[in-house]
């Protein structure tokens, strides 16, 4: 479904991604781990189309369609969703207005009419319950004044509403207490189905206790240096990245 080939990307002339290769099939959950500064969040941003980063070479296709020529909003309509590490506060834009605009813009891209109001309200209500989003947040502006946990829940809520093919969770576990982590993870688990896939970016094994990955990759210095099954995450928790880093440094320098 998602195919990344030899992807290179840089910011302000500094190369961050140095040839990423990754294939994700429908229904799979891939975890990407790695030390700070290895390029995990950059990969997420590049996939979502953040123009801060320059893609210098390589290709990314979703169901055969080249994503790199598409704008962020077009990628979203094609089925890419990025759950932000630091969700952005948007004062004055209500959650409902935001979601309605997003749904209708995606529908417009697909040549569909705007969503009928009753259908929209039903969808919103259903998904709010799904992520246990606090009722007191109704009518509030997007992320404004939200706690860290509420922000992450809102990301999962948006994901549930927009129902993407590929969801990228960029350190969704950071800043979460154990209860919020459980809700976020169970939200993701409930959304898992044979048609969609997830890329879970995380520092820690902790999130993977709740979301079981099919494949675990270790990203270091802009390259995937090791790929394994869920046990790789457990191993890393015990050994740390040092051994792998040494091997990789020897190989590439």
């Amino acid at each position: 479904m998602l195919e990344i080939k030899d992807l290179h990307a840089s910011v302000e002339g500094k190369e961050i991604l140095k040839g990423i290769n990754l294939t994700i099939k429908p229904g799979e959950v891939h975890a990407i781990m790695g030390p700070n500064g290895s390029g995990k969040s950059t990969l997420a941003s590049v996939l979502a189309g953040n123009e801060v980063f320059d893609v210098t070479s390589g290709e990314v296709t979703l169901d055969g369609k080249n994503l790199l020529n598409l704008k962020p909003e077009e990628r979203a309509a094609e089925g890419i969703f990025l759950a932000f590490q630091y969700p952005v506060e948007i004062p004055g834009v209500s959650i409902n207005n935001f979601m309605k605009t997003a749904i209708n813009e995606q529908r417009k891209y697909k040549g569909l009419d705007p969503i009928p109001a009753p259908e929209f309200l039903k969808l919103i209500k259903e998904k709010k319950e799904f992520v246990e989003l606090d009722k007191k947040l109704d009518g509030r502006s997007v992320n404004q004044g939200f706690s860290g946990g509420e922000k992450k829940k809102l990301e999962v809520f948006q994901m549930a509403v927009l129902n993407p093919k590929i969801a990228i969770l960029d350190e969704t576990d950071s800043g979460l207490d154990i209860d919020a982590l459980r809700i976020v993870a169970s939200g993701v688990n409930k959304l898992r189905n044979p048609q969609n896939s997830f890329i879970v970016i995380t520092h820690y094994q902790r999130l993977l206790d709740y979301i079981t990955p099919d494949v675990v990759h270790v990203l270091y210095n802009g390259r995937i240096i090791k790929t394994g099954d869920k046990n790789l995450a457990l191993e890393l928790e015990n050994t740390g990245y040092d051994e792998l880093k040494k091997e990789a440094d020897a190989l590439y320098n």
């Binding site: 123009e51 704008k71 909003e73 979203a76 969703f81 969700p87 948007i90 004055g92 935001f98």
Partner: protein, 389 residues
């Protein structure tokens, strides 16, 4: 430069001396050079002709009718659109309006809310309709509004144009709000890009009044609003929200002087501008708190957004305080839209344009809410949306 040009125009059209003084007596900011550079071209190289009037009302005016139950007065090029012969000195249009023509070139409209009629909600549809593509139609008007003791009134003054020909109006509105009255004044300027409108308002507020003055600028070559408020009675409040959205080569200028002359009054100004293209917005606001005006509360804030590299915004909020027991604030911000917020929205499938639109609407919505006039918010929101397309 601008002053000289205005003087020339007023001389040319033989405006009454008192009106002329009133038009020319506004004070320009201290630092005139940059300011005048932006304004002076407005009146350069223009060939003026006196206003004339035709009888038909256009559909566009009717579009601007916002209140179902309000009384309306239609002005065309500064005249009421009913037949108006030279020499008629006074004509009752509606229960609350009185129109006075002093000559074929000067015209005043008087509006009294004295409680004798049941009418407390009026709209002036001030239509500018230039006739020639290369000759600027000129009109000069004087308006008076008085709100008697304890009366409640809403007065909308909507300046629009329905032709693409140039026109220029210079207007003075004198307003007296008497003891205990509640008065909302809403100014809306949406004229074509060849036309200019200079509007000076002198507002006197007596004691225990609640006054709101909103000023929204959407289109026009040059729109200047000079608001001069004297708070002369205790216990009154003034709120003055405003929105300016210059695009293309539009110049919108808002000069406000709020004089707190007595104690225990409140004033609150919230002005927001969004400039795009080569648009220019200026806000020059002075709040003066006299020595006797203890316990004054005054807030003035001007927030601006620049949408293009070539748009320009100037802002000068000022406070002059001579009393020692007051609570006053003033501030100004100017910036671009938050690029992270735009990317966040785009990553959800919202196009860049729509994302900008959402942010700007959020930015203006607070002001629209504060203006809070029945059926008027929709008019403002639709004009805001039109400006975003």
């Amino acid at each position: 430069m601008q002053k000289e040009k205005l003087k020339e125009i007023t001389d040319l059209l033989a405006i009454e001396q008192s009106d002329r003084d009133s038009i020319l007596s506004f004070d320009l900011p201290d630092d005139k050079s940059e300011y005048l550079k932006n304004c002076s071209h407005i009146f350069d190289n223009q060939d003026f002709e006196p206003a004339t009037v035709s009888n038909s009302l256009s559909d566009k005016v009717v579009d601007f009718v916002t209140e179902i139950n309000s009384k309306r007065c239609y002005l065309q090029n500064g005249f009421t659109s009913c037949n108006f012969e030279n020499g008629i000195t006074s004509s009752k249009i509606y229960d609350v309006f009185e129109a006075i023509a002093n000559s074929s070139k000067s015209f005043s409209l008087v509006c009294n809310f004295d409680g004798s009629s049941q009418i407390n909600n009026v709209e002036v549809n001030n239509l500018l309709r230039g006739v020639h593509p290369d000759k600027t139609l000129f009109c000069n008007n004087k308006f008076s509004v008085s709100v008697d003791n304890n009366q409640k009134a809403v007065y909308k003054f909507l300046t629009v144009s329905d032709s693409e020909n140039p026109a220029c109006q210079i207007a003075v509105t004198n307003i007296v709000v008497k003891s205990g009255a509640k008065f909302d004044l809403h100014l809306l300027n949406n004229i074509n890009n060849k036309s200019s409108f200079v509007h000076r308002l002198n507002v006197t507020i007596e004691d225990n009044c609640e006054v709101k003055i909103s000023n929204c600028n959407f289109n026009g070559k040059f729109v200047q609003t000079i608001l001069n408020v004297n708070m002369i009675g205790e216990g009154s409040t003034l709120s003055a929200p405003g929105i300016s959205m210059p695009t293309d080569n539009q110049v919108f200028d808002y000069l406000s002087f709020i004089n707190h002359k007595v104690s225990n009054c409140t004033s609150n100004q919230k002005i927001r501008a969004i400039a795009n293209g080569n648009g220019y917005s200026n806000f020059y606001g002075l709040v003066k708190v006299a020595q006797d005006a203890q316990k004054t509360q005054s807030d003035q804030v001007n927030n601006n957004i620049l949408l293009s590299e070539t748009a320009k915004i100037e802002s000068k909020p000022q406070l002059e305080i001579y009393a020692d027991d007051v609570k006053c604030s003033h501030g100004s911000t100017t910036g671009m839209l938050d690029s992270e917020a735009i990317f966040y929205m785009r990553s959800r499938g919202i196009s860049e344009k729509a994302a900008q639109g959402l942010l700007i609407q959020a930015f203006t919505q607070e002001i629209v809410n504060e203006i809070d006039a029945e059926n008027y918010g929709e008019v403002l929101n639709s004009l805001i949306t039109q400006k975003l397309i």
